[in-house]
């Protein structure tokens, strides 16, 4: 698409390079939109998934492998994926100015595919021992805990998946959760319950992680102390809504409110994937939302020609 009034770098900039952003990139390329994808971690949280068993065409695939296939498809279509962090977005006459930690770009349309971030539990020792026994990425770090004793914090599906993965290496895995029941899908709960290495500690909170140079001990709110080598934190996720807030985008519990076309309340800005207020947060639905957002951006650009 051409703009005769002033030079605009891109028809479309997609902020976020997870399944939503990458799929939006594929659709944008096939609609011949001059597009840039930018993100900090290609694949986002999905790239750190141990196994994805519900994405059509693959009975079972690692998050990294699935994302690499998506990335390759985007690259083959001639779309660049840049590792840039967006600092600010400003509305301009013909689109938007996007300031990143490296440069400035402008684009006529934007898709926010910001994904979600892992929640910190904000207890003493969490930050100090990051990389020294504290981990947010079981796929990356589980192999370093061979024959060790570890805890997994959380009771959701991601905590269960992490426990199962870590149990392949560690000699003992304790799941520590606030509530009195596990919240994952039944298939995962069943696998965890029959795994002899995994022990579940209900109705408990971790309040401190201690050690000399690495994790050695944790304290619980019931006064109990445990000798532990590793702490995997899977305490849920939060939407990174700062950019959306800056732009005055309407939010619902931190998630961007979108309509069926993935449009936000600001013309020219679309949103897709885990950052939106849609009900389901899965790789397949994120990809679908990315496709819809790219097609909607194309339709809007076509009308403005």
């Amino acid at each position: 698409m051409k703009n005769c009034e002033m030079k605009v770098d891109y028809d479309l900039i997609i902020i976020g390079s997870g399944p939503a952003g990458l799929t939006a990139g594929v659709y944008a390329a096939r609609h011949h939109l001059k597009t840039l994808v930018m993100g900090k971690l290609v694949g986002g949280i999905a790239s750190e998934a141990h196994k994805i068993c519900n994405f059509p065409t693959y009975h079972e695939i690692s998050g990294k492998e699935l994302i690499e296939k998506m990335e390759e498809q985007v690259n083959k279509l001639g779309i660049k994926i840049e590792n840039e962090e967006v600092i600010e977005i400003k509305k301009e006459k013909q689109g938007f100015l996007i300031k990143t930690d490296k440069k400035e770009h402008n684009a006529r349309k934007i898709i926010l595919a910001l994904g979600r971030e892992k929640r910190k539990i904000n207890i003493p020792g969490e930050k100090e021992f990051l990389g020294k026994g504290v981990s947010y990425c079981a796929v990356c770090d589980a192999p370093f805990f061979k024959d060790k004793e570890v805890v997994v914090i959380g009771g959701s599906n991601s905590a269960l998946t992490t426990s199962l993965l870590v149990s392949e290496f560690a000699k003992k895995v304790y799941i520590i959760l606030r509530g009195d029941r596990l919240k994952g899908v039944p298939a995962q709960i069943h696998l965890v319950e029959k795994n002899k290495k995994i022990q579940i500690i209900f109705n408990s909170n971790i309040i401190e992680i201690t050690g000399k140079n690495k994790v050695e001990k944790i304290k619980l709110d019931n006064g109990k102390e445990m000798n532990i080598n590793g702490v995997f934190i899977e305490a849920g996720t939060i939407p990174p809504s700062k950019l959306a807030e800056q732009l005055g985008i309407n939010l619902e519990d931190g998630h961007i409110i979108v309509n069926k076309k993935q449009e936000t309340n600001i013309k020219g800005i679309f949103a897709a994937g885990d950052i939106t207020n849609n009900f389901v947060k899965q790789v397949i639905t994120a990809a679908a939302e990315g496709a819809i957002a790219a097609i909607s951006a194309y339709e809007e650009l076509s009308k403005e020609k």
Partner: protein, 108 residues
């Protein structure tokens, strides 16, 4: 002078010797880790840009488990800067280029 090297077969003495002449930034990575894949080109780019102010040593923990164990690697990516055979700085996890640049400027 070369700006990056690859450590193989636990041959780390070469890195320590080199660190007596120039700071060496060791990137402990694994092929199974996506954040490692993202960090690699950032470090490679910075190694070129800093033109020999430091040498980047890439170390795959899979083929260098003794070294990874010796330096208590419990997470990848882990980055450690060696000078005169001693660790003078470190960080773990994927960081933005601007943050790594700041870290390098502080340490070098």
């Amino acid at each position: 002078m070369e700006t990056e090297i690859e450590v193989k077969n636990n041959e780390f003495e070469r890195v320590l010797e080199l660190s007596s002449k120039v700071p060496v930034v060791v990137d402990f990575y694994a092929d199974w880790c996506m954040p490692c894949k993202m960090l690699k080109p950032i470090l490679e780019g910075l190694a070129k840009e800093y033109k020999g102010k430091f040498v980047l040593a890439k170390l795959n923990v899979d083929g260098n488990s003794e070294i990874a164990s010796k330096y208590d690697i419990m997470s990848v990516p882990s980055v450690k800067m060696f000078k005169n055979k001693k660790i003078i700085g470190e960080f773990s996890g994927l960081q933005q280029e601007s943050a790594i640049r700041k870290w390098l400027d502080e340490k070098l």
